[in-house]
Amino acid sequence: MTVPLIQFIDVAKRFGTHEVLKGLNLSIYTGEIIAVIGKSGTGKSVLLKHIIGLVHQDSGQILIQGEPLHQLSVEKVRSFQNELSYMFQDNALFDFLNIYDNIALPLVENSKFPKARIKEKVMTRIKQLGLMDAEYKFPAQLSGGMRKRVALARALVTDPKIVLFDEPTSGLDPVRKKNVHSMIQEYQEKFGFTAVIVSHDIPQIFNIAQRIALLDDGVIKFEGSQKDVLESHSTILNAFVRGDDVPDTFD
């Protein structure tokens, strides 16, 4: 049986008195696109932040290729983190840097590429995401949609092996949403990275995700393929997909 790339085992996280994750179990496999769906405020972003190391669990374990994250050597943790990239929900672009510098930052600060190579990589992403005219503008001068694309370009510029997308299409028009989804799918097929996408784009996200996980009340209530979603009799899943108000207790 394939060892998951990342595995959450009974992970719990509390902020003050608010319990966000209550024994969450989830497996993420190499090379797949997994979509995490769920109501706002259920801890989807917190789940992603556990993977990137911005948040640490109160209890439970996170395994990286079968080994507990907290038991890995510093080199292994660093090597794992170097393969990660994160696209923030609110973009987190640097106001004092122009678009080119925002996208180039991870390469400028961490890579040993010569300037010409960095420029080539950044310009490739800028062209792919239709940001040619915005190269020397600052984030505040761009629309919400363009800022989203800049954040996406920055997340992909290091050619990461695992990309965590926190609502990559929020604030985009339907055409751009489709483009971003297509691009994630296309890049994933081309480079084979593992993508974890937190999204509310239902049902569009089902077209690119190989697996869907529904997070509710701090735990994963459903996990399966697009086919499983369509065939599921899960009350909570069906209610969420239809956009109905979801009662507190389910299944």
């Binding site: 932040k49 990137i52 190391g53 911005l54 660093r78 983190q81 170097n82 990660l84 990239s85 994160y86 923030f88 609110d90 987190a92 672009l93 640097f94 106001d95 004092f96 930052l105 991870p106 600060e109 961490n110």
Partner: protein
């Protein structure tokens, strides 16, 4: 009642110790990174421009008027004891030893320190600091270290400028407006100041640069812990950073003066 009082006292002490630990670690991380390659030349130049060059106007203005006021006050005090010729002496020593470093530091705190706290605070609340971490960029090295170096370069230079302009201000009010012989004024300035006075002023400005930058960057960096998130959090952070910096400038001024005299 007593137990509650002890609990509150204990919590306050714990919070204080934690806070001191955080600020020391923050400062040490930033300082150690001053010597870690690659040096961040372009960022240092940018911040030196912002902290130093862009403060010149306000420093010249405050220096000039401080010197003019000292000249006026000094003249009317000294004339009572018939020593108005000592005006240059009084103005120069007061400025170089005391007012120059302190006023310069307070003016830079108001202009650049508040901006540092606000900018880093906004970076915190808009997740830009988290974004740096996800890119494996040390946020303290990225944001605090270049500002610290820029401040250490800028503060003494601006203090020197303040002193020179202040002495000129004293000259304007004392010699040009009130008629003290200009050669006497300049001669007493030159005769009264020795290298120890100038060095003492520079020691102070060096310490103030470290204190102001550390407090302002630290408050901004930990905005979420002290003042909460959002615009209100950032505004509170900025206010607290400026107030604390000014208080610590005066405390350190006393401590350094105590050891220098």
């Amino acid at each position: 009642m007593l137990i509650k009082l002890i609990e509150t006292f204990g919590k306050t002490i714990i919070r204080l110790v934690k806070s001191m630990g955080r600020i020391v670690l923050f400062f040490l991380t930033g300082t150690i990174n001053c010597f870690v390659l690659p040096f961040q030349f372009s960022k240092i130049i940018d911040h030196t421009w912002f902290i130093g060059t862009k403060s010149i106007f306000v420093i010249v203005l405050t220096g000039l008027f401080t010197g003019m006021v000292l000249g006026l006050q000094g003249y009317y005090s000294l004339i009572k004891v018939g020593s108005e010729e000592a005006l240059g002496y009084a103005v120069a020593l007061t400025l170089i030893r005391e007012l120059g470093p302190v006023f310069t530091a307070i003016m830079i705190t108001a202009r650049a320190g508040s901006a540092m706290a606000a900018e880093i605070g906004v970076m915190r609340v808009s997740e830009q600091i988290d974004a740096l971490k996800t890119m494996h960029i040390n946020p303290v090295r990225f944001m605090f270290t270049p500002r610290l170096i820029a401040a250490v370069i800028s503060f003494p230079l601006l203090t020197a400028l303040f002193n020179v302009v202040g002495i000129l201000g004293g000259f304007i009010s004392g010699s040009i407006m009130l008629g003290i012989n200009r050669y006497v004024y300049m001669d007493t300035v030159i005769q009264s100041v020795d290298i120890n006075d100038i060095a003492g002023g520079f020691y102070k400005s060096f310490v103030f640069s470290v204190v102001v930058t550390t407090i302002c960057c630290y408050r901004g960096y930990y905005t979420h812990l002290f003042s909460g998130f959002g615009a209100r959090g950032v505004s509170l952070t900025t206010t607290n950073a400026v107030v604390q910096s000014c208080v610590f400038i005066l405390i350190f001024d006393y401590i350094i003066t105590f050891f220098l005299v």
